[in-house]
């Protein structure tokens, strides 16, 4: 008998709450904890822990819907926090650091995946997953280590800004490719429609901030919150209808509001919602994860973790040099950018809709990869001081 939807949700929230508490206790990112919580209580093995049946939650429509809202809100905030100003004011260095980061890490991901015999489409997904650092984890560690007040914060945040824009373009292109998979005239018009939709949104984001603010602003917090949530969700849903990426649509709604007077209120009012639904999203990824599939891609995982950690090291150190920083600060730039997280999983969620080999391999890879990189990233940051002392003198800067 199927359990009531409310019970599923209850189990889901308790599971992520326990997972978050444990993660905070041991000082790790909450993202891998949410995924593991989903794996444990989900329908895939392990189905029992210490003889107790823990296969409590099926991936029902309700959890799936809330998880989609999580993706939409994650991308909405990415857009909201996307600083066109920062990009333009410091464009030479941001673009230089960002291009190095993209060229090194995206290419390495692509090559590793192809070397392991993945199709080009699957390899493109893997490349995106290993390319994008976790803004949430990186920013949090900057605050915790106090690096936020140091010059190394500039290349780190600059790289994240570039990645934000890159991932929006990447998601838009890949979802169009998936949508137009059939080929022929229908596919071409489908892709054209998707890009027309996103292009119109981009135009509104670029020129229509005043209009969007006037539309959504309201002195009562409750009304304001509902209007924002309504607008974001509706636009994201309309994007799906137009065959475009809902995530990119949400990004543009956020971007339209970035730099407006509403940012502080949105950060205060909407970010708790984002945290809740993003947790459900990570949890839902865990629900859908079969650890046996993750084990199947273990060789690819090990290779990707090794190669892309070194990749972020190389690109991070180069970015530090682009910003004219000392060897120590350049090594820190590299260390800080290692963790991958929420956006790798957003890419994986898109891959899951692709069907075939891509849907089988890529999400399993993404889960294993994010689990490995959040833990490895935390360990590297923990050992940041001895590592920089050991590495900095060897850079000859």
């Amino acid at each position: 008998m199927a359990s009531p939807a409310l019970l599923d949700l209850g189990v889901a929230f308790v599971a992520v709450a326990v997972a978050a508490a444990l993660a905070v206790r041991v000082g790790l990112s909450v993202i891998p904890a949410y995924i593991l919580a989903g794996v444990v209580v989900g329908p895939n093995p392990p189905r029992t822990v210490l003889g107790v049946d823990v296969a409590l939650v099926e991936s029902g429509a309700l959890v799936a819907g809330l998880a989609e809202l999580g993706v939409v809100l994650l991308l909405f905030f990415l857009g909201l926090e996307f600083s066109v100003d920062k990009l333009l004011r410091d464009r030479r260095r941001v673009v230089a650091a960002g291009l190095v980061d993209l060229a090194v890490n995206f290419t390495l991901g692509l090559l590793v995946a192809l070397a392991f015999g993945l199709s080009l489409l699957a390899a493109l997904f893997v490349a995106g997953i290993v390319y994008i650092s976790s803004s949430a984890v990186v920013t949090k560690s900057l605050l915790e280590r106090g690096w936020i007040a140091n010059p190394e914060a500039d290349p780190i945040l600059g790289t994240l800004v570039f990645e934000d824009l890159a991932i929006a373009v990447y998601l838009a292109v890949l979802s169009a490719v998936l949508g137009g998979g059939g080929g022929g005239v229908a596919a071409v018009t489908g892709v054209a429609r998707a890009f027309a939709f996103l292009g119109a949104l981009a135009l509104v984001a670029w020129a229509g901030t005043g209009l969007v603010v006037a539309l959504l602003d309201h002195p009562t917090d409750e009304v304001f919150l509902l209007q924002v949530l309504g607008a974001v969700t509706l636009v994201a849903g309309a994007a799906l209808l137009a065959g475009a990426s809902e995530a990119v649509a949400a990004f543009f709604v956020g971007a339209a509001l970035s730099g407006s007077d509403l940012v502080d209120r949105l950060e205060t009012l909407v970010s708790p919602l984002r945290d809740v639904f993003a947790a459900v999203f990570f949890f839902a990824i865990g629900l859908g994860t079969d650890l046996a599939l993750v084990a199947d891609v273990a060789p690819l995982l090990v290779a990707a973790v090794a190669v892309t950690t070194l990749g972020k090291f190389a690109s991070g150190i180069t970015s530090g040099r682009v910003y004219g920083l000392s060897a120590t600060r350049s090594v820190r730039t590299a260390l800080a950018l290692v963790p991958r997280g929420e956006f790798s999983l957003v890419v994986a969620a898109l891959a899951a809709t692709a069907g075939g080999e891509v849907a089988g391999t890529v999400p399993a890879f993404a889960v294993g990869y994010v689990l490995a990189m959040t833990v490895l990233g935390a360990l590297l940051l923990e050992a940041a001081d001895p590592l920089t002392r050991a590495l900095a003198p060897r850079l000859g800067m």
Partner: protein, 160 residues
């Protein structure tokens, strides 16, 4: 004095200003109003977190620093946007030659070029004092003039 400002996505804003030569004060203002205050003693050093303040604490501290509670007289570095002129608050001492004289009698502007724009007595402030106002010991004169004029005026106010 330059204040370097940068947006920190997902956090808020970062402000950096130079103090004592190469040292930098870094302030992170979070979206929720929290403020972190850091000091970087030298360009190559790490920033040390000095304080983490709530919005209200930060505003109170800011007001104290700004001089809202007590305004010291910074002789050479009073920053008031009056072109070449500056503003100062000077107390009339018990043995000051001005004590007991009217403003007209003291002929401050004629002799020094300094203008008395207000007289503070106890908790009241007279914003455009009458020439017949008799100056008393303990009065605070709010005056404006160039630095040289004010130096001259301070010399005259002090007992011979």
């Amino acid at each position: 004095m330059d204040v370097y400002e940068a947006e920190v996505p997902g956090v808020g804003y970062k402000y950096e200003l130079a103090v004592e030569g190469s040292a930098r004060v870094v302030v992170i203002v979070h979206h929720d109003g929290k403020r972190d205050l850091y000091l970087r003693p030298e360009p190559d050093a790490d920033s040390e977190k000095l304080l983490s303040l709530t919005g209200e604490e930060a505003r109170t501290l800011g007001a104290v620093l700004e001089g809202a509670y007590f305004q010291p007289v910074e002789l050479e570095d009073t920053r008031v946007p009056l072109g070449g002129a500056v503003m100062e608050w000077l107390e009339v001492g018990a043995d000051s030659p001005l004590s007991g004289r009217t403003l007209a009698d003291a002929a401050i502007r004629q002799e020094t070029g300094v203008t008395v724009i207000a007289v503070q007595r106890g908790s009241t402030t007279d914003p455009s004092p009458d020439p017949d106002t008799v100056l008393e010991p303990g009065d605070t004169l709010v005056v404006t003039g160039t630095r040289d004029q004010l130096r001259d005026f301070r010399a005259r106010m002090a007992p011979e």
